[in-house]
């Protein structure tokens, strides 16, 4: 059963999500990956103001291919999240509620998620052409010089996601793999 969730998120929405939940996400989300995260965190460290309000927002770790004419965006699947691990706790402290990516996170990120109430969603890595269909609009809001790594504001409709790590630290990679291995033992 899928849960329909809209952005912006809040603590209550996030605390209700459990690892393994299938979610259809709708609303505005922001893209940022390696180079943009570096700039955002440097700004915060220097006491600057972020180029977009981050409280209760969701960041998608993604750099798309260029949009063909008549399309909102090109292929748009997730990039591997651990590269953002050194930056994510700062952003969570400043109110970031949701992250979308793929792959493992480190213990600092998970601690921050538990403390402040944030969720880590997985999008299907390698399904960028299919995912592009649920992205209805895309505009660059800053760091245009970074090309594919610029920060974009996307409007998504029913973006299919799985809760990989919930705000209690529940981890779907561990749960799913255990379930599979147990299913073999019971055969």
């Amino acid at each position: 059963m899928e849960k329909r969730i809209t952005t912006p998120l809040n603590e209550e929405k996030v605390r209700n999500l459990k690892a393994g939940d299938n979610v259809l996400l709708s609303g505005y989300i922001y893209t940022a990956r390696d180079a943009a995260h570096k700039r955002l965190v440097e700004l915060l460290e220097q006491g600057g103001k972020l180029p977009f309000p981050i409280k209760d927002e969701t960041i998608y770790y993604m750099g798309p291919t260029p949009a063909k004419i008549g399309h909102a965006i090109g292929s748009a699947g997730p990039t591997t999240s651990y590269r953002m691990d050194s930056y994510a706790p700062y952003l969570i402290r400043y109110g970031l509620r949701g992250m979308i990516g793929k792959g493992n996170r480190n213990s600092e990120v998970i601690s921050a998620m538990k403390e402040y109430g944030a969720v880590y969603f997985g999008a299907i890595g390698g399904a960028g052409a299919k995912i592009s269909k649920c992205i209805k609009s895309s505009e660059i809001i800053c760091y245009e010089d970074l090309g594919a790594e610029a920060v974009r504001r996307l409007y998504v409709e029913d973006f299919p996601l799985v809760v990989i790590i919930d705000s209690n630290g529940g981890n779907y990679y561990e749960i799913g793999q255990r379930e599979y291995l147990n299913s073999l033992n019971t055969d």
Binding site: A35, M62, T80, G103, G128, A129, Y173, S183
Partner: protein, 280 residues
């Protein structure tokens, strides 16, 4: 002597960049179908379906299978009786990449310097490997390589005494450590022997061999099967959500090595192990 103008090389590279990124090769599509039948776990079957549907959309709409359209790795086999005319082959290949990535709506993912990172905005330079072979043809293979999986790759200088068991352990440990990060199901390219850099090159080369073609040496063909079986017992599964299908194939390439060494490289690639070939 056969003459080939560099403009033909540019045109070919340009087309191959686009084809490789839009069209998932048939050997991989076939293996997906087989993997789905062998998979007992519901979630894993769903993921395989999604990835096959994604490949269909990419093929029909000429859209990249994955947004990481890679760094362009280009293998060039040059017949020793060919005369290349009209300019530099290196420039011609890079021009092909530049045009292919621009006109094909592919992502520009290359930075000019590894520390002071500024995007070159045209996905050049390509990584180019030349090989001089008998004959009067030029064979070009373009293999765009994504970095989600490239980052999970490893190399190790084993001792001769580590033997086959050491090689197996290193390959399995590398896949285990990669876990969900490289978008499983993966294809595992393994290079054994040679020198430090030769092993890495062999691992890359292994990835452009179709996955329905096994190593010509029966010993290594068996090792490929054995490693694949063992990897698919880890339980990582598609996306790391659990399941049998952690890898679609293990491809091994080998080379003679030194009496003191046993280099092993593991080049991990996602299902979008892209390569397109043409002969001039």
């Amino acid at each position: 002597m056969k003459q080939i103008n560099v403009s033909q090389i540019t045109e070919t590279v340009k087309k191959l960049c686009m084809d490789a990124n839009y069209f998932l090769n048939e050997d991989i599509v076939d293996r997906f179908k087989k993997a789905k039948e062998e998979e007992s776990f519901g979630m894993a079957k769903n993921i395989i379906d999604i990835l096959m549907e994604n490949a269909d959309i990419a093929r029909e709409e000429k859209m990249p299978i994955c947004q990481d359209t890679g760094m362009a790795v280009v293998f060039v086999e040059i017949g020793q009786d060919v005369h290349i005319t009209g300019g530099s082959i290196e420039d011609a290949i890079n021009e092909g990449v530049r045009e292919g990535y621009e006109e094909g709506f592919l992502r520009k993912s290359v930075v000019a310097d590894p520390i002071n990172r500024v995007n070159t905005k045209d996905n050049t330079p390509a990584i180019i490997y030349y090989n001089i072979v008998p004959g009067e043809d030029i064979k070009i293979t373009v293999a765009p390589k994504g970095f989600g999986s490239e980052n999970m790759s490893k190399i190790k200088m084993l001792k001769p005494s580590d033997g086959a068991a050491g090689v197996k352990k290193f390959v399995i440990d590398s896949v285990k450590e990669a876990g969900p990060n490289p978008c499983p199901p993966i294809i595992v390219g393994v290079g054994i022997g040679g020198t430090f850099e030769k092993a890495a090159f062999l691992a890359k080369k292994a990835l452009i061999r179709p996955i329905d073609v096994e190593n010509t040496n029966p010993y290594y063909a068996d090792l490929e099967k054995e490693l694949l079986e063992e990897i698919n017992r880890l339980g990582i599964g598609p996306q790391g959500f659990g399941g049998r299908t952690t890898a679609l194939s293990v491809n091994i390439e080998t080379f003679p090595t030194h009496i003191a060494g046993l280099p092993v490289a593991v080049n991990i690639s996602c299902h979008a192990t892209r390569h397109a070939e043409a002969c001039l």
